[in-house]
């Protein structure tokens, strides 16, 4: 029996430890944190999508009562423009300078041009309206395909709107298409969305006595510290970054924002704490967006349904600048372009294109929802063309369970999977065709499926790093586990959870191994001033990479504990195991020590093994060998009102596999949120700029986030296929629902509309678009 066999905390659907404070208003978000002597900041933002800054007159604003300073771009003597972390070997990526405050030219509506600082939160907003900026308008580039072709330029000195070209392929594409008897081509649009975290961004910069403490609503405090040090020229040891309670991020806070840098700079300049909290309108204008790509996809197959080749050319709308990961996002999808299918030849060609819009970057799924949307729509389109059942076509091309670890044509090794089992489980769970058959008079129902995988657990540094994919960082994780003298435990993780329930999940991992109650395991995160370094929460990495490092640090504790117990009981360490909450000798469970007793012995070191250090605290760093590849099968039924074009999702069933569940309730919650996120994109949400580059959807009245009333209750199940990559066997789950669900909905809408002659439609499936597609098909 192993040491993990004591209390089975792992696998229990415990309620989240963090929820009572969140639900009862006891959490401390950035807006709740104020310090003595604090000043407030407000940004003046460009109303123009593209213009030269002729002049900025700050005199009137600066003269207002309570205003301490007004700064413009050229005042900020920073060491470098804002960071972009991707230097892919052998690929030229054009990176126009992007400053915390625009210097000579603005490139999108919302680009900040001045910073007003004063003693009153309200007065700085009033004063910001008095900064008078003269703009000379320049041609505005909005349409992605036109921008790609040329014409007006976003950055004239680059001579092109094309930022970079990047390809990933494997297998003989030409031979694959030659072998194909049927070829289907589609133009698939994946429109722009916002992260729309309920808590907007906010920053409190406090520079005093030569050190900077910066509190920010961020997903990446450790990166933030690094870049603050580099941008401001402060030694890293004198910078502390804190992520307090963070009310959602969805990737939009995986960023180094100009506001963070500008506030830090101003605090140092004024030697006063300075705070800024984003308004919702600012958030929609100036917090990075996601998706926004057009794919020209081409799939070839034999008549009997064997896929022979798959090619996509992707235009990615980057917006006006490159932020931390802007150009990398479509590439993240390219690694899993062929989804769950064994396709002998696959190629993705990506072109990044500048436009006069807010930059895009990682939003939940980052590249993989786009890739999944493409392949899962193409499979349905191909099935239609072949006259074959869509599930039969899927099954025919699934990678077989025996083939894992499965190396794809792209050279990517999928760790583990059982795709037929996930699909079978889904079909047993819900009879979608029966629901479809019960459509009320005048309504159309359709069924959609999506069988997906994704690549996550972001790490392995050897693959993602400078000489591999080209990210200028490692992507390991770290954890420190401290057993206190009472047996209570504190865990420090380098991840930075903000809604994922990791305080509970990680506590369960530790509790199981130490024989304590998870309630007595506190998980500390989000502060570079405590615990070891880490790299944050994104890319569904926090359990697969961060959780594994917690497990490894805990294993070191267990090892030391066994030695102490063996010494005290005069037994051999190999014979000590955890039985009913005690570390005891195999076969005589009554003679054992609890972890509290062991830590007592460790901290009052009267009787430790010869040469052993006192204390019970361990650190582990972990860099995995491979990514992990969660997968699953989703199915849904939609009901379309053909008179109005309205689409209702009336049934949604999902089977997801993220390896052995540590906390099934938390997994379900992540899947729920993920599905709603994708339903949002498929049916409701859309960031839209008009032809002048003005943002039309700048608040939650126009940017339509779905609420609980707009989605059905979900039927969820799991299969559990362990990953061989980490000792927990786990894979990520934070993004999976979002990755799977948008093609599921879209395919269902097409299925519903087929009797009317509609065979293809792009998101967002708002009622007008659906109605227009029906009208068009009538002609």
């Amino acid at each position: 029996m192993s040491a993990t066999a004591a209390e089975p905390w792992v696998g229990k659907p415990l309620k989240r430890k963090e929820d009572p404070r969140l639900i009862m208003g006891r959490a401390r978000y950035i807006d709740d944190i104020n310090v003595t002597g604090q000043l407030w900041a407000s940004f003046v933002r460009s109303p123009e999508a593209h213009a030269r800054i002729v002049s900025i007159d700050t005199a009137e604003a600066a003269a207002q009562p309570g205003v301490h300073a007004v700064y413009v771009g050229n005042d900020l003597d920073l060491e470098a423009p804002l960071p972009m972390a991707w230097v892919p070997p052998g690929v030229e990526v054009k990176n126009p300078p992007h400053w915390a405050l625009a210097k000579d030219e603005v490139h999108h509506v919302g680009d900040p041009v001045a910073l007003v600082i004063g003693s009153d939160r309200y007065a700085v907003v009033d004063a910001a309206q008095l900064v008078s900026v003269e703009y000379e308008p320049l041609p505005v580039v909005v349409d992605l395909e036109k921008a790609y072709e040329g014409g007006d330029l976003v950055h004239a000195d680059l001579g092109t709107n094309q930022c970079h070209e990047w390809s990933l392929g494997g297998g003989d594409l030409e031979a694959g298409f030659n072998a194909a008897e049927v070829v289907v081509e589609r133009r698939i649009v994946n429109h722009r969305t916002a992260g729309a975290a309920i808590e907007p961004r906010g920053v409190l910069a406090d520079y005093r006595a030569g050190s900077l403490t910066l509190t920010s609503s961020t997903q990446v405090p450790h990166f933030l510290r690094l870049f603050l040090a580099l941008q401001l020229g402060i030694s890293e040891d004198r910078v502390r970054a804190i992520a307090p309670e963070v009310g959602g991020g969805f990737g939009s806070k995986l960023q180094i924002y100009g506001e963070e840098i500008a506030l830090a700079w101003a605090s140092r300049k004024l030697e006063r704490p300075v705070k800024w909290v984003e308004s919702r309108t600012e958030g929609m204008l100036a917090t990075h967006h996601g998706r926004d790509q057009i794919a020209y996809a081409k799939i070839g197959a034999t008549r009997d349904g064997k896929i022979t080749a798959y090619h996509t050319k992707i235009l990615q709308d980057l917006g006006a600048y490159l932020m931390l990961l802007t150009p990398t996002i479509p590439s993240l999808g390219a690694f899993v372009m062929s989804g769950v299918y064994d396709i002998p030849a696959v190629q993705t060609d990506i072109v990044g294109v500048f436009t006069n819009k807010m930059p895009t970057d990682a939003i939940r799924g980052a590249g993989r929802p786009e890739a999944t949307h493409q392949i899962e729509m193409m499979i349905d389109q191909l099935a239609d063309e072949l006259g074959m059942d869509r599930l039969e076509l899927r099954r025919k091309n699934f990678m077989t369970p025996e083939s894992f670890p499965h190396e794809t044509a792209l050279g990517v090794v999928y760790d583990s999977g059982d795709y037929p089992k996930a699909l079978d489980t889904l079909l047993e769970m819900a009879d979608l065709d029966a629901i479809k058959a019960q459509a009320p008079a005048g309504k159309l129902r359709g069924v959609g499926y999506s069988t997906y995988t994704e690549i996550c657990g972001l790490a392995p540094s050897r693959v993602t790093g400078p000489s591999g994919f080209g990210l200028q960082t490692g992507l390991w994780e770290s954890a420190m586990v401290r057993v206190h003298i009472t047996g209570a435990v504190t865990v420090y993780t380098g991840t930075s959870p903000h809604g994922q329930g990791l305080e509970t999940t990680m506590a369960q991992i530790v509790a199981q191994r130490l024989g304590v109650d998870p309630q007595n395991v506190e998980v500390i995160h989000g502060d570079t001033g405590t615990g070891p370094q880490g790299l944050g929460t994104y890319g569904s990495r926090s359990t697969a990479v961060g959780g594994e490092s917690v497990a490894r640090a805990t294993a070191k504790i267990v090892e030391k504990a066994r030695q102490i117990v063996a010494h005290q009981l005069e037994a051999s360490p190999e014979d000590i195991e955890l039985i009913d909450g005690k570390f005891a000798v195999k076969g005589s469970p009554d003679k054992g020590m609890t972890i509290g007793e062991i830590s007592g012995a460790a901290y009052i070191p009267e009787n430790l093994p010869e040469g052993m250090e006192p204390g019970l605290e361990e650190l582990a760093f972990y860099d995995p060998e491979n990514f992990v590849f969660p997968f699953g099968a989703h199915g849904c039924v939609v009901e379309v009102d053909p008179d109005t074009g309205n689409v209702d999702v009336i049934k949604y069933a999902a089977v997801d596999d993220c390896g052995p569940a540590i906390n099934p309730k938390i997994i379900d919650g992540q899947v729920h949120g993920g599905i709603v996120h994708a339903i949002g994109q498929a049916l409701f949400e859309r960031i839209h700029y008009d032809e002048d580059g003005q943002l039309v959807t700048g608040n939650f009245a126009d940017y339509a986030l779905p609420s609980a009333a707009d989605v059905p209750s979900f039927d969820l199940d799991r299969t559990e296929t362990p990953s061989p990559v980490n000792s927990l066997g786990v894979k990520g789950i934070g993004e999976a629902g979002t990755i799977a669900a948008s093609p599921c909905i879209t395919n269902a809408v097409i299925d519903a509309l087929r009797p009317l002659g509609v065979t293809f439609i792009n998101m967002p499936l708002g009622p007008q678009r659906v109605w227009e597609a029906i009208e068009e098909a009538k002609r």
Binding site: T281, F684, T697, D702, A709, P767, Q768, W771
Partner: protein, 279 residues
């Protein structure tokens, strides 16, 4: 989302409120539920110098439903209208946003504001109701037909307070309310209120159709009403009448709904609302 600076008073009587408005001048504004005004202030699209809050005026919260006439104080919330068993008005009020908004927003506020996307204006129009408006020079009753002048412009003048909303119970009428929106709790893309009185022989004795968000003010679908009046209430005659619902309208288009699409919706919703009202 920080409004410009403003002063605030919460008077104890209607006279005090009128006085405060008069002293506050043209930049003074009434605050009722605040669920239209405060968002506008936060966006700085409205920058009143003084807010005169009506929350203390108990008289404006009364509900009176005697003698076939319903009289609602201006500060009666959407929630109370929705749950008051007032037929069409209740059905429409129940579709306003979510429970939180219905707990705060008021019937007087929404009618004085005159947003063509809001639900109650076209309902009052179809009910042929009226409002009572009080100013320093006295009180007047304004018919719904004369209340809505333009986009966000109503007959409620500067320094005036809408105090009461009146509409008949309309015994013998069936009603239907069809609201089409993107999300469950959204404003109407288009909404249609229908009232139908069936004659003993099954024909349509009277019909009134109100259109929401089909123009800069709420409208009556007069062509459709004319087409149905006196006709048998069959599916065919209803469909035929409904096909006239959008005649002469110039609906405001936006990202999610073109003029053509809105006209189409008006026809579909009119057919559905008339069908329900005729059952």
């Amino acid at each position: 989302m920080i409004p410009a600076e403003f002063d605030y008073v919460a008077p104890q009587s209607l006279d005090e409120a009128l006085q405060a408005l008069a002293q506050g001048g043209e930049d003074a504004k009434i605050l009722a539920g605040g669920h239209s005004l405060i968002p506008l202030m936060k966006l700085r699209m409205s920058q009143p110098s003084l807010l005169v809050d009506l929350r203390q005026l108990q008289d404006l919260k009364s509900v009176n439903a005697d003698n076939g006439q319903i009289r609602l104080g201006a500060m009666v919330t959407h929630h109370r209208v929705a749950t008051g068993n007032f037929g069409l008005a209740s059905a429409a009020a129940a579709t306003i946003a979510d429970q939180q908004v219905r707990n705060m927003g008021t019937i007087g506020g929404t009618l004085a504001h005159g947003d063509p996307a809001s639900d109650m204006p076209a309902v009052l129009l179809a009910l042929e109701g009226s409002v009572v408006i009080r100013g320093s020079s006295g009180e007047r009753e304004v018919a719904a037909n004369d209340l809505f002048e333009d986009f966000l412009t109503t007959a409620v003048g500067e320094g005036e307070i809408l105090t009461e909303v009146r509409f008949p119970r309309l015994e013998g009428y069936g009603y239907g309310y069809e609201k089409f929106n993107r999300r469950q709790e959204d404003w109407a893309m288009v909404a249609v209120s229908a009232l139908v009185k069936k004659a003993a022989d099954g024909t349509c004795e009277d019909v009134r159709i109100g259109l929401t968000h089909m123009g800069s003010v709420p409208l009556r679908a007069t062509a459709a009403e004319q087409a149905l009046r006196g006709q048998p209430l069959t599916a065919e005659s209803i469909a035929s009448a409904a096909s006239h619902a959008a005649e002469g309208t110039e609906p405001p288009a936006d990202l999610n709904a073109s003029q053509d699409y809105k006209r189409h919706l008006a026809r579909v919703l009119t057919r559905r609302a008339l069908t329900t009202a005729s059952e």
